[in-house]
C-alpha cells in the first residue's frame, strides 16, 4: 500500500498539468456543434470529415509539409556541415562561431518577423514558399548545430585520421566514418528542425498571405474568424501521430538495447 506523501501529490499534479491540456482537445473534436464546446448529448465525427473535405485544410497541411520538409533538408545539411567543420578545425574561432549559430534561438520571433517582412518585401520573397523555407531553415539551424556538435563532442579525431591513413579521401572518410558516428545527432537535429518549422506561427503570419498558408497560420485564422471545432479534430490527430511516433521509437530503442 503506497502512502500519499506531498511528493506524490506534487508529481501527479505536475503530470496532470502537462497532459490534461493536451487531452482536452479530444472531447471538443467530437462535438456536434459548430463552435468550440464540450459535447453534451451526442457525438459527431463531422469535423474530422471537414478536415479531409475542406480544401483549405488539406492545402494547409500540404503547405506546412512542403515548407517544413524544405526547411529541414536545408538546415540539416548546413547545420551538420557547420558542426563537422567546427569539430575538424577545433580552433577558438570555430567555438565563437558556434555561439553565433545560436542567435536564432536568442532573437525574439517578433524581431525576426519584422526584419524579414521588410527584407523579403525588397527582394520579392513575400508570400513565397522559398521565402518561408529560408527563414524556417535559419530558425532550425541552431538545433541541428547543437545536436550534431553534441554527438561529435565524444568522437575521437583519430577515427578520421585512421580512415585517411587507410586510403580514404576526405569525402570518403566523412561519409564512411564520421557521418555514421553522428547519425543519431543528425536525425534528432532534423526532427527538431522539422518541428520548429511545423509549429512556427509568428513569422509565417507576417511574411505570407494568400499563396502560402501553413497549418499554424490556418489555425490562427480559424480561431480568429469563427471558432471551428475542426481545429480540435486536427489537434487530436496531431496528438495521436506524436504518440504513435514516440511509441514506435521507444519500442525500437528497447529492441536494440535488449
Amino acid at each position: 500500500m503506497q502512502r500519499f506523501s506531498f511528493i506524490h501529490v506534487l508529481a501527479w499534479a505536475t503530470a496532470c498539468f502537462l497532459i490534461l491540456p493536451i487531452l482536452v482537445v479530444i472531447p471538443i473534436s467530437v462535438t456536434p456543434e459548430r463552435y468550440l464546446s464540450l459535447p453534451t448529448n451526442s457525438m459527431s465525427f463531422g469535423h474530422y470529415a471537414n478536415l479531409v473535405g475542406d480544401a483549405r485544410w488539406s492545402k494547409s497541411i500540404l503547405d506546412s509539409l512542403i515548407v517544413a520538409s524544405g526547411a529541414t533538408v536545408l538546415s540539416t545539411a548546413l547545420g551538420t556541415a557547420f558542426a563537422v567543420g567546427a569539430w575538424r578545425l577545433g580552433v577558438p574561432l570555430a567555438r565563437r562561431l558556434r555561439l553565433l549559430m545560436l542567435a536564432p534561438i536568442i532573437v525574439p520571433p517578433i524581431v525576426h518577423a519584422i526584419a524579414f517582412y521588410r527584407a523579403w518585401a525588397v527582394v520579392g520573397l513575400l508570400d513565397s514558399y522559398l521565402g518561408l523555407v529560408l527563414i524556417h531553415a535559419m530558425k532550425g539551424l541552431p538545433f541541428v548545430v547543437l545536436t550534431v556538435a553534441a554527438s561529435l563532442a565524444n568522437l575521437d579525431h583519430r577515427l578520421e585520421q585512421a580512415a585517411r591513413s587507410l586510403g580514404a579521401t576526405p569525402g570518403q572518410a566523412m561519409r564512411w566514418v564520421v557521418l555514421p558516428q553522428v547519425a543519431t545527432g543528425v536525425v534528432s537535429g532534423a526532427a527538431f528542425a522539422f518541428i520548429t518549422s511545423w509549429d512556427e506561427t509568428i513569422v509565417a503570419l507576417f511574411v505570407t498571405s494568400r499563396r502560402v498558408v501553413t497549418l499554424p497560420r490556418r489555425i490562427w485564422e480559424g480561431l480568429a474568424d469563427n471558432i471551428d471545432p475542426a481545429i480540435a479534430a486536427l489537434g487530436t490527430l496531431m496528438v495521436l501521430i506524436t504518440v504513435a511516433a514516440v511509441v514506435i521509437n521507444t519500442l525500437r530503442t528497447q529492441r536494440r538495447t535488449a
Binding site: 575521437d156 583519430r158 585517411r164 591513413s165 586510403g167 579521401t169 570518403q172 564512411w176 566514418v177
Partner: protein, 364 residues
C-alpha cells in the same frame, strides 16, 4: 636502397614553440626502428609527419627517392596503428579490416580473400562478425594491426600501440610484433616511451628528448655506449661519475672525482681538454663488490652499504661514498652475504665507465 625513408631536415614549429628541431633520419627498407623518448620529445610529431597528418614547417620526407612531403595521408600507402586503436565502432571486425580495400576499390571475393588471410595471421577469424566494443583490448589491438597491414603498406607506423594493455599482454605483443615484422618484412616505425619495448623489439632505437635526436643506434650499442647522460639514464639505470679529466691517451682518459679516480673510455666525446669537467656513465651491473683490497688499475671506490634491495636473481646495493654521493651496484644474488653499514670496495673494468655528454639544464 629500395623503399628507404629519408627525413631531411624536417622541423615543426607551432608559433614560437618548437616541437621538433631540424631532424635528419634515414630508415632502411625492412628495418624495425623505434622512436623512444619522454612525452614532448617530438617522437609522435615525427611519426605524424611521416603519416602525413602534421605538415612539417621545414624539410622534406623522401620515400625511395620520391618526395612525399606534400602528399595527403591517403596517397602515401602507409599503415598506421593508432594509440587507442581508432577502430571504426559501427563496422564489424571484417569490415574494419576491409576498409582500406574498400577505399582502394577492391571488392568482392578478391577483398575477402585478403581480409581472411590477414585475419588468420592475427588469429581473429572467429571474431570477424563482432563489433569492436565486443572485443577485449588485446583483440582490438590485433584488429588495428590487421587493418593496417591488409593493403600491404610500404611502411607500418605504430603510435604507442601497447600503452592501454596490461603488462603480461604487452610482453606477448612484443614477441608477436617481432614475429609479424619478420613475416611481412615491412618497415616498422614504432613510437613508445617504454624502454623495455624499445630494447626487446627494435633493430635500431632513436632516442629523442625535447625535439631533437640524441642518439640512434642498435639497442646493445645504445645501452653499452650511450652518447649522453640523458640516454644513459633513460635506457636502463646508471651511475654518473662527475669529475675532471687529468689525462687522455688512446681512447681512454683519467677522470678524477672527489671520492675516487677512474680510468674511463672516451666513448663518443671528442676534443677533451685536460682539466675539463666531465661525466662518465657506469652501469650498476658492471660494478663488482668485494671485501678485499682494490685492484691495481685503480678503478675503484670504497664505501659503506647504505641500502640492499633483493630482486630475486640479483641484488641492488647502494654504497655511500666518502664525498656523500652514492654508487649503485647490481650483483648476483648469493654471491656475497651483505649487511648494511659494512665497508666494501667497489671496482670495475677500465672500459666499463664511459664519458657521456652532460645534460643541459631543462628549459635552456
Amino acid at each position: 636502397m629500395k623503399d628507404s625513408l629519408i627525413l631531411a631536415g624536417i622541423e615543426k614549429r607551432y608559433g614560437d614553440a618548437v616541437a621538433l628541431q631540424a631532424t635528419d633520419l634515414e630508415i632502411k627498407a625492412g628495418e624495425f626502428v623505434t622512436l623512444l623518448g619522454p612525452s614532448g620529445s617530438g617522437k609522435t610529431t615525427i611519426l605524424m609527419s611521416i603519416a602525413g597528418f602534421v605538415p612539417p614547417s621545414a624539410g622534406r620526407i623522401l620515400l625511395d627517392g620520391q618526395d612525399v612531403t606534400g602528399l595527403p595521408p591517403e596517397r602515401r600507402n602507409f599503415g598506421v596503428v593508432f594509440q587507442g586503436y581508432a577502430l571504426f565502432p559501427h563496422l564489424t571486425v571484417n569490415d574494419n579490416v576491409g576498409f582500406p580495400l574498400r577505399a582502394r576499390g577492391i571488392r568482392g571475393a578478391d577483398a575477402q580473400r585478403k581480409i581472411d588471410a590477414v585475419l588468420d595471421m592475427a588469429q581473429l577469424r572467429a571474431f570477424a562478425r563482432r563489433l569492436p566494443r565486443q572485443l577485449s583490448g588485446g583483440q582490438q589491438q590485433r584488429v588495428a594491426l590487421a587493418r593496417a597491414l591488409v593493403f600491404e603498406p610500404e611502411l607500418l607506423l605504430l603510435d604507442e600501440p601497447l600503452s592501454a594493455l596490461d603488462r603480461a599482454l604487452r610482453k606477448d605483443f612484443q614477441a608477436e610484433f617481432k614475429a609479424i615484422h619478420r613475416q611481412v618484412g615491412t618497415t616498422f616505425i614504432y613510437v613508445t616511451h617504454d624502454q623495455e619495448e624499445a630494447l626487446t623489439m627494435s633493430d635500431r632505437i632513436v632516442i629523442l628528448d625535447r625535439g631533437r635526436i640524441l642518439q640512434s643506434a642498435p639497442p646493445s650499442e645504445l645501452y653499452e655506449r650511450p652518447a649522453t647522460e640523458f640516454v644513459a639514464r633513460f635506457l636502463g639505470k646508471s651511475n654518473f661519475l662527475r669529475g675532471r679529466i687529468t689525462r687522455v691517451a688512446d681512447g681512454m682518459a683519467d677522470l678524477q672525482c672527489p671520492a675516487l679516480t677512474s680510468r674511463v673510455s672516451v666513448g663518443r666525446q671528442d676534443a677533451l681538454a685536460i682539466g675539463a669537467n666531465a661525466v662518465a656513465a657506469l652501469r650498476p651491473e658492471k660494478v663488482k663488490l668485494q671485501r678485499s683490497e682494490a685492484p691495481a688499475d685503480g678503478c675503484s671506490a670504497t664505501g659503506q652499504v647504505a641500502d640492499i634491495t633483493y630482486l630475486g636473481s640479483v641484488i641492488d646495493v647502494t654504497l655511500a661514498l666518502a664525498d656523500g654521493t652514492t654508487l649503485a651496484a647490481t650483483i648476483p644474488a648469493g654471491a656475497l652475504a651483505l649487511s648494511e653499514g659494512e665497508t666494501l670496495v667497489a671496482s670495475w673494468a677500465p672500459d666499463a665507465a664511459i664519458l657521456v655528454e652532460p645534460d643541459v639544464e631543462r628549459g635552456a
